[in-house]
Symmetry: C2
Subunit: 263 residues, 2 copies
């Protein structure tokens, strides 16, 4: 890590950004005076900053009302921001926090062929949460919770190609029957998450939820896993909302939009 960094900031820029953020709070159109009073800045300053933002297309001024809206340049910026968005970058801080609050292993995985591949993993030690772990580790998709989530949200043609292969049993609980798996995947799609109780390894429980990208496709999944004696079925039932919320927050930052808002 480079230097320690201790917050040296530029006032005028801070104010300009504060103005931009004002548009987030519901109202999409704001007048100079409104912003001025809300942020307690002199009108002249607000006007000048808005003019600067407008020069770059970050806001536009309605020709007749004189009020301001967020501009197309911002959208352009985010188009490319989203294009360059890496799941594991976005997810990392959320994973760390989840590992912290739950005190269990948290991972992020994607599907590669028949396997789920770990992209990121946080394991809690005595006090702090370590990053490393089995990054890059491959696990048969049908036997782990992340894998089942990723399969569940696959386009049906792609799923068909994968399911005609032989599925190895890793424990007595591993699902090996294609029909059983299909039914399980259907249930997972319905409820929005997957669980696995000793299907991959004896004494190992896990729960997993999908991550969507901006097109709505499921591109990855997060999972919480731990020893069966600690991560009991009851405890898993309790943490479902937490896990789902984390997954949704990551999806949201990836540009996934749920609501239908336009007129």
């Amino acid at each position: 890590m480079p230097n320690t960094k201790a917050g040296q900031t530029v006032q005028s820029v801070e104010r300009a950004l504060a103005i931009l953020k004002t548009f987030s709070n519901g109202e999409p159109e704001l007048s100079v005076s409104q912003i001025s009073s809300r942020l307690k800045m002199p009108k002249s300053t607000v006007s000048r900053l808005l003019a600067t933002l407008q020069a770059h297309g970050f806001v536009v001024q309605d020709a007749e009302t004189g009020r301001f809206r967020l501009g197309a340049e911002l959208i352009a910026l985010v188009h490319s921001a989203i294009a360059g968005l890496q799941v594991h970058h976005v997810a990392r801080p959320h994973l760390r926090q989840l590992a912290n609050t739950l005190g269990e292993t948290v991972s992020l995985s994607v599907l590669d062929g028949h396997d789920a591949v770990n992209l990121e993993q946080f394991v809690p030690t005595q006090r702090l949460v370590m990053r490393v772990g089995w990054v890059g580790r491959r696990m048969p998709a049908h036997a782990v919770s992340v894998g089942k989530v990723l399969l569940a949200f696959l386009p049906s043609e792609e799923l068909d190609q994968l399911l005609d292969q032989q599925m190895e049993p890793l424990t007595p609980n591993t699902i090996t029957n294609p029909t059983t798996l299909r039914r399980e995947l259907h249930r997972i799609r319905q409820q929005g998450y997957a669980t696995a109780f000793e299907e991959f390894e004896e004494g190992l429980h896990a729960i997993s939820a999908p991550i969507h990208d901006h097109t709505g496709r499921v591109i990855a999944a997060i999972s919480v896993s731990g020893p069966a004696y600690r991560l009991t079925r009851e405890r898993i039932a309790d943490i479902i909302p937490t896990v789902l919320e984390t997954a949704q927050r990551i999806s949201w930052e990836m540009g996934y939009m749920v609501e239908e808002t336009n007129r």
Copy 2:
């Protein structure tokens, strides 16, 4: 209109915005030095501005590489920007320009029940392009090009509900047969635009293309219309790319994404 406005801008803010825009050009991750040399600013200035942007979450610094990426706050901003996006606001400048280059009437319409409703219209007079016109005017959807586009991209259940009604002929060319219309709508979906030659009014030709919102749904359509003697079938064939491009640009600004870029 208020005062004339003559570009008084704030340097530091301009620089900060310029830094943000640097991320658009392909590379999603940039180092202080890269930005510094690309924009020809001293490293210290860039570092300070980035620190300010980071304090507001507009950029984030990768903990290990020290480089910067666009931050989640930007995405949050755009989420709300898009939510408050009004089609006619976004479309207006594009419509004006299209009317200018073609010298024909350009309008923006949405579907309301069986009718296409004008939201915005630009008609070219001798030299300049006037805004007003029949805003709010309703036209039977099956008889105009915009209407046909809007019908063509409707979910099939909704379409079925609309098509069982009687369709009035307005000229000898008006499509009144449901089967014929269905075939026409299919063709429109295929080619991405619709034309209408004297189907609504004798001597009136028109071409229309759809506008998508960020979810991909078709929420409006633009059209170019004019007298048959001037807007001939040949001329319409020529301007198809122009019209399509304008429509796509508007869709893009509404948050519609075409490409699939994520990893």
